[in-house]
């Protein structure tokens, strides 16, 4: 296996995630798509770490940080979405334009 396959996988997953973020109306699915994008980035990090044979494993360690960050992000994100849904009975991101005021 060469690096190119991992990069193709990462790119594919990132594209899928980006597509989801841009097209989904439901905020929960938007968040799920963001998770896919983060996973794609993790694959890239681990792949390049292995490819470059970094003795300090910087890429792998960084991937761990990204996983922790992703967990935190999804926790806060889901909580916000839940509160919005409770208040407005909808999680449609198109309707969430109050922040501009």
């Amino acid at each position: 296996m060469t690096i190119i396959q991992w990069i193709l996988l990462g790119s594919a997953m990132f594209s899928v995630g980006l597509y989801g973020v841009l097209t989904r109306r439901n905020a929960v699915l938007v968040l799920a798509s963001v998770e896919i994008m983060l996973s794609a980035v993790n694959i890239n990090l681990v792949a390049f770490d292995t490819y470059l044979a970094d003795p300090a494993f910087t890429g792998q360690i960084f991937a761990l940080f990204v996983i922790a960050l992703a967990a935190a992000e999804v926790g806060i994100g889901i909580a916000i979405v839940l509160m919005i849904f409770r208040n407005r009975h909808s999680a449609d991101v198109d309707e969430l334009d109050l922040m501009r005021y």
Partner: protein, 705 residues
């Protein structure tokens, strides 16, 4: 100043020769720790004030314990004084004013030990009694706080070795007297009585300050012992000002000891609770004036310094003892009778000091403290039972209140001077001293004193016969159901009755000289005539006079004088009070000629009211108010007006200029925000798409270049 020394009299020469020869110890640690005596009640007073409500017995326990401590310490000092003699003086410097040292200290000698002992023992018994008397009072704890403050103030006063501390104690007892007279302040009369006492004392206190300043400045020190030393050594200019200093200080003493014409406050002071009347207005506080003259006796006994002051003292004392005694005859309020009696007995003490009988005056102070406190407490027991101060609501209480009756009778016997009760010995000594003085110094005032003291004994017996007759004999006229007081009130009565019976035995001329030794143990010798045997012929005059007076009083006011006649209303007899079916009239004797004068208290109270108080409260107060409203207030009003207008101007600038900057800044930001908002629809996915497009563009640029 040799000229003064040359003029010193025989007495002063005697003093110079004997000043070092008094046989006494320094009291050791007992005297060195005597500072505890004033300090403990002082601290306890404040403890009661702050914590009394939360303590067991609500402050009574602490107060009584403090007084018990003073009583035990005072007794220990008295015993040590009688065994070895104690003359000690301690002073702590707390600052200097020019060449004058301001000191705080304590004197332990016969005179101050006498007062420690009296305040402690009589105070302890009165405090025990007060537990019963004040039960259920709304300000129970407050009462004991101010009462203990009084005890502390009195002990500060009597332990003072200098004028400064004496005046501090003097004012402390003044203010606690004010607080306690006005204890029942719900009633306006009681407030007036408290104000009257305070103001009357204040007038006299002003004279005391002046006298203290004159004496201290001419002697160069505030300390009593130092003043006396410099007097005898001829180092002072006091001889030039002595009469005026002595007069001013004596006026101060007249105020506290309620001497004519400052007597007006004491009868009104009976508005306070009865334990207060017993301890302050009979046994201790009012004797502060007598104490002061006794403390300064080395000064007053030397005519080189005090001039003719002693004659003035004798005349004031004699006038007081006679005229105030007469007033006691017409009072209906039992406490006011005892109050006038107290004033009259204080007149005896003052007059005794005036004739040079130091021991006799203090001996009467000593015995009087016991028997007058007893009479007051017994009167309080009666008031407690019948809920009235007036003798027209009493009568026949003998069978309801046996303990009170017998103790009151003992107090009466002691007061009028029946052998062998206390007052017999002390009053007899005063009369004997007056007689001795008159026979050696045949001036009018001296004989005046002898005659008045015997007439005074007659009057004393007369009004006491009236009180006993109207209170304990005849028909009961009150509404409440009388009953004997609880043990906590009767036990102090019995203890005081025992003291009133035996206290006189301490100083029988020629037989026991305990008391003479006690009070003459002082750093400066007291020059007075020493009686080696009782003056039998004076006893032979006074005792029949007293007995005759008692008999007349009994005939005029006793049960046989009551007029009974059947009620004319024709109604059926009141079953709840069977005695009421017949109307009873008594106390009908009116002294011819004098009666209107006595009834109106010689018009002296009216004179003060219309001559001094009303003019002060009327025009002077109005004028002061006008000045206050129009002149004094004008300054703050003007200042306030200027400030108000300045503030208005500043307000305009603030609203328009300062606020304008912020308002404009805020409005501008808002307008820009509104303008920019048009370009941002608030759709998250659009933002994400744009930012991704940006990333793609930058990535492309990166790849290309």
């Amino acid at each position: 100043m040799p000229a003064v020394v040359a003029e010193l009299s025989r007495v002063a020469v005697f003093l110079q020769e004997n000043v070092e020869q008094i046989d006494a110890g320094d009291g050791g640690w007992l005297a060195a720790y005597a500072w505890l005596i004033p300090v403990v009640p002082m601290i306890v007073a404040f403890l009661i004030l702050f914590f009394g409500k939360y303590s067991p017995w609500k402050g009574w326990g602490m107060a009584t314990a403090a007084l018990g401590f003073v009583a035990v310490y005072g007794t220990a000092l008295a015993v040590a004084n009688l065994r070895d003699g104690i003359i000690a003086e301690f002073s702590v410097n707390i600052g200097d004013v020019g060449t004058f040292a301001i000191e705080w200290g304590w004197v332990v000698d016969g005179l101050s030990i006498l007062m420690f002992f009296l305040v402690g023992v009589v105070g302890f018994l009165v405090f025990v009694y007060a537990n019963g008397y004040m039960k259920g009072d709304a300000r129970y704890t407050w009462f004991f706080a101010s009462f203990t403050l009084f005890a502390g103030g009195m002990l500060v006063l009597v332990s003072a070795p200098n004028f400064i501390q004496l005046i501090v104690g003097w004012e402390l007892v003044g203010v606690s007297s004010y607080l306690l007279i006005g204890h029942y302040w719900e009633d306006m009369d009681n407030i007036d009585a408290a104000n009257k006492a305070f103001m009357t004392n204040k007038v006299a206190d002003a004279a005391l300050f002046i006298g203290a300043v004159i004496m201290s400045l001419s002697a160069g020190t505030f300390q009593f012992s130092e003043i006396f030393t410099r007097m005898i050594d001829g180092q002072t200019v006091l001889a030039q000002f002595g009469f005026w200093a002595g007069l001013a200080i004596f006026i101060g003493a007249m105020g506290k000891s309620a001497q004519f014409p400052f007597h007006v406050w004491l009868p009104d002071a009976m508005a306070g609770p009865t334990p207060v009347s017993a301890l302050m207005h009979a046994a201790t506080m009012v004797t502060a004036g007598v104490y002061l003259i006794a403390r300064l006796f080395p000064f007053y006994q030397l005519p080189e310094f005090s001039g003719s002051m002693r004659t003035i003292i004798v005349v004031v004392g004699a006038v007081t003892l006679l005229f105030m005694g007469l007033l006691a005859i017409v009072q209906d309020d039992i406490k006011r009778v005892l109050a006038y009696s107290t004033v009259s007995q204080l007149g005896y003490m003052v007059a005794a000091l005036g004739v040079g009988a130091y021991t006799a005056g203090l001996f009467h102070l000593f015995t009087h403290a016991f028997f007058k406190a007893l009479l007051f407490l017994a009167a309080g027991s009666i008031i407690h039972a019948v809920h009235s101060n007036n003798m027209s609501d009493m009568g026949g209480l003998r069978k309801y209140m046996p303990v009170t009756f017998w103790t009151f009778l003992i107090g009466t016997a002691a007061l009028v001077g029946i052998f062998p009760f206390a007052g017999f010995w002390s009053k007899d000594e005063i009369i004997a001293s007056a007689y001795f003085n008159a026979s050696n110094n045949p001036e009018f005032a001296a004989w005046f004193m002898v005659v008045l003291s015997i007439v005074g004994a007659f009057i004393t017996a007369f009004y006491m016969a009236r009180v006993v007759s109207l209170t304990f004999f005849g028909t009961y006229l009150g509404d409440a159901k009388p009953h004997e007081s609880p043990a906590i009130m009767t036990v102090p009565l019995v203890a005081l009755a025992a003291a009133a019976t035996t206290a006189g035995l301490l100083n029988i001329p020629g037989l026991t000289e305990v008391f003479t030794e006690w009070v003459t143990t002082r750093a400066f010798p007291i020059v007075e005539h020493h009686f080696t045997e009782p003056e039998y012929f004076l006893i032979a005059i006074v005792t029949p006079v007293v007995l005759l007076s008692l008999f007349i009083g009994w005939r005029l006011f006793g049960p046989s004088s009551e007029l009974h006649y059947t009620s004319t209303s024709g109604e059926a007899a009141d079953v709840s009070a069977p005695e009421r079916s017949v109307a009873v009239e008594r106390d009908t004797f009116r002294i011819p000629v004098l009666y209107p004068l006595l009834e109106n208290k010689y018009y002296i109270d009216d004179l003060y009211m219309n001559g001094i108080v009303r003019p002060t409260m009327g025009p002077i107060a109005d004028a002061t108010l006008w000045v206050d409203m129009n002149v004094v207030d004008a300054v703050p009003n003007l200042t306030a007006g200027v400030a108000k207008h300045a503030a208005a101007a500043v307000g305009v600038i603030d609203d328009n200029a300062v606020d304008g900057v912020y308002n404009v800044a805020g409005a501008t930001t808002g307008a820009i925000g509104g303008f920019l908002r048009q370009f941002f629809p608030g759709r998250v996915q659009q933002y994400v798409a744009l930012s991704f497009a940006g990333v793609v563009i930058f990535a492309a640029l990166f790849v290309i270049f």
